[in-house]
Amino acid sequence: MDTIAFVAFASIISAGLTMGLGALGPAIGEGMAVKQAVAAIAQQPDEKNTITRTLFVSLAMIESIAIYCFVISMILIFANPFWDHVISKGG
C-alpha cells in the first residue's frame, strides 16, 4: 500500500470511529438528563420554565462534545491536512 492510499484509509476509518464512539457518550448523557428533567417536571409542574431552560442549556453543553467529534470527522473527510501534505510531497 503506498502512502496516499494509507493516509486515505486511516482518515476514513478514524472518521467513522470518531463519529461512532463520540456519539456514544453524549447520547447516554443526554438520555439521563432528559429522564431526570421529565421526572422533575412531573413532580413540580410549577417549575416547568426553570427546569426547561436549565435542561436546554445543559443539553447544549453535553451535545457540544458530540459536535466536536463531528467537526473532527468532517475535517478528516473534507479538509484533511495530512492528505494535502502527502499529495503535495508526492506531486
Binding site: 426553570t50 436546554f56 442549556v57 466536536y68 463531528f70 473534507f78
Partner: protein, 244 residues
Amino acid sequence: MELLRLNQISPDQVILWQYGFIKITATLAYTWMIMAILILTAVLVTRGLTSGEQISRWQNLLEVVVSTIRSQIYEISQEDPGHYLAFIGTLFLFIGLSNLLLIVPGYVAPTASLTTTAALAICVFIAVPSYGISRHGILHYLKEYFQPTFIFFPFHVMGELTRTLALAIRLFGNMMSHDKVIAILLAVTPLFFPIIMHALGLLIGMVQAYIFAILAMVYIASATQAHEEKIHPPKPETPTGQNP
C-alpha cells in the same frame, strides 16, 4: 442554486467577487445582508411608534420580541435587564435571523462558518469581564480569579478560554452539520426527506440562537454576581410560617 459544494466545509471558501487582495466571500455578503435587514426593519418600525390603542402590526411584533428577551434576561439575572438587553438581544436576533433565513434557496448561513461564530464568541469573551469590572471595579473582579486560593488561577483562566472555544465550535458545528446533512440527503433520497430535515434544521437553528444568548447571559451573570454574596452575604432563609 447550490452555492456551497459538498467538499467545501465553510462558506468562507465561496468567493463571490475579487479585486486584487480584496475578496468578498459568501460569509461577508450574507452577514452584511442580515445586518441590513435587522437595521432597516428596526429603523422603519421605530419611526412611527405610538402608545395609543391602535398600534401597527410591526410595532406589535417588535414589542413581543423585546419584551420576551427582557423577561428571559430578568429570569436569569434577577435584576434590571436594561444593561444587558442591547448585547444579548443583538446576539439572539443576529444568530436567529441568520439561521431562520435557511429556508431561502441559495442562502448559506454565515453562522455555518467558523470565522463568524469565533467573532461572536470573542464578543462574549470581552463582554464578560467588562460587565464584571464595570459592576465591581477591577480589583474586586481580579480577586475572583484567586478564589479560593491562588492555585486556582490557571484553572479559572482555562475555563474562560475553553468555554469561549466551546461557544464558537457548538454553533459552527450545528449549522455546518445541517448544511452537510441536507447536501448528502439530496444526493441519496432527493424527493421527500430533505424537506423534513430542513424543518428540523429551522428548529435547531432557533434553539442554537437561544442557547448562545442564554449562555452568554449566564456567563455575564456569573461574573457580575459572584461577589455580591461575599460583600453582602445573603440573609439566611427564615421559614415564613405558612403552615397548611
